[in-house]
């Protein structure tokens, strides 16, 4: 994968320094995801902290290799909630939560969830033309993979 575009790299570095300064950290200090989230007033929780979640749902999501890392939900008035997969190691937690925070810092617009035929998210099924969407998005993904603005 290609490196960061120079302008974006500069922006990222400045942003990193800016947030560290806000948190009274030195520019070379680590920037823990939890600290940054707190400063951004974003609640970061695990599925177990959400009331009224069925035990079977938790079992499924907390199973080994469940296949999800984290998700961000816009709540209202610019508030966001991050739910992370607590079965991942601390290092991966950092990467997962930072990734979600980066969506917000970069002002990405959220996806509306619906079911794709591979079964992305099932319960939100207004009669969208699912297969069409899936093909569109996969094609775009193939074209764009090389120009993704983040290094991974």
């Amino acid at each position: 994968m290609r490196g960061l575009d120079r302008n974006l790299r500069e922006w990222c570095e400045n942003e990193g320094v800016r947030w560290r300064r806000e948190l009274k950290l030195y520019a070379y200090d680590p920037l823990p995801a939890r600290l940054l989230a707190q400063r951004m007033k974003i609640l970061v929780i695990s599925p177990m902290e959400i009331p009224e979640v069925d035990e079977l749902i938790l079992q499924c999501l907390l199973a080994e290799n469940a296949g999800w890392s984290a998700l961000t939900l816009p709540i209202d008035k610019g508030r966001h909630l991050i739910i992370y997969n607590p079965t991942h190691a601390a290092t991966r937690y950092e990467s997962n939560v930072m990734h979600e925070l980066a969506h917000l810092l970069l002002g990405h617009r959220p996806i509306r969830f619906h079911q794709l035929s591979a079964g992305l998210l099932q319960d939100f099924t207004p009669p969208f033309f699912l297969a069409h969407l899936e093909i569109e998005s996969l094609n775009l993904a193939d074209e764009r993979t090389g120009s993704e603005p983040f290094e991974h």
Partner: protein, 138 residues
């Protein structure tokens, strides 16, 4: 109204796609019109690779799978584009807040259907709890 989609996988990429709706009512109406008095079985055979019961469901407004849809378009001699329309504002407003959940998801490209379903339910529960002020630490 153009909906923007953000799709996120471990792959890792993102993109924006406009959300479109399949006009199932229009599709159903054209099938019924062209079928006329002929039986479902006969028409299903003519279209190919579709069962009479599936065809009946589509006539009742169910969303067909991609292959079936394209075959029906061929049979109708109508371009598939004809049936795709942008989502309407009004329609959007009729969907309840909970059904309009949006967000970002970092997950494997191939999520098991059970996991996908569980995530959807988790998001609903989280959204509900958050809007009702039942999530602490804020």
């Amino acid at each position: 109204m153009h909906e923007t989609m953000f799709l996120e996988k471990d792959g890792i990429y993102w993109e924006e796609v406009m959300t479109k709706v399949l006009d199932t009512q229009y599709l159903a109406a054209l099938i019924k019109t062209k079928r006329g008095n002929r039986g479902l079985r006969e028409i299903a055979q003519e279209i190919g690779d579709v069962s009479p019961s599936t065809l009946s469901r589509i006539e009742n407004g169910k969303v067909p799978d991609m292959d079936t849809f394209l075959r029906i378009c061929d049979w109708l001699h109508v371009s598939s584009e004809e049936f795709i329309k942008e989502t309407q504002d009004q329609q959007e407003n009729e969907i309840s807040n909970i059904d309009r959940i949006e967000g970002y998801l970092r997950a494997d490209r191939e999520l098991a259907p059970e996991t996908a379903d569980a995530l959807a339910k988790l998001m609903k529960a989280a959204y509900k709890a958050a809007t009702e002020g039942k999530l602490g630490q804020e």
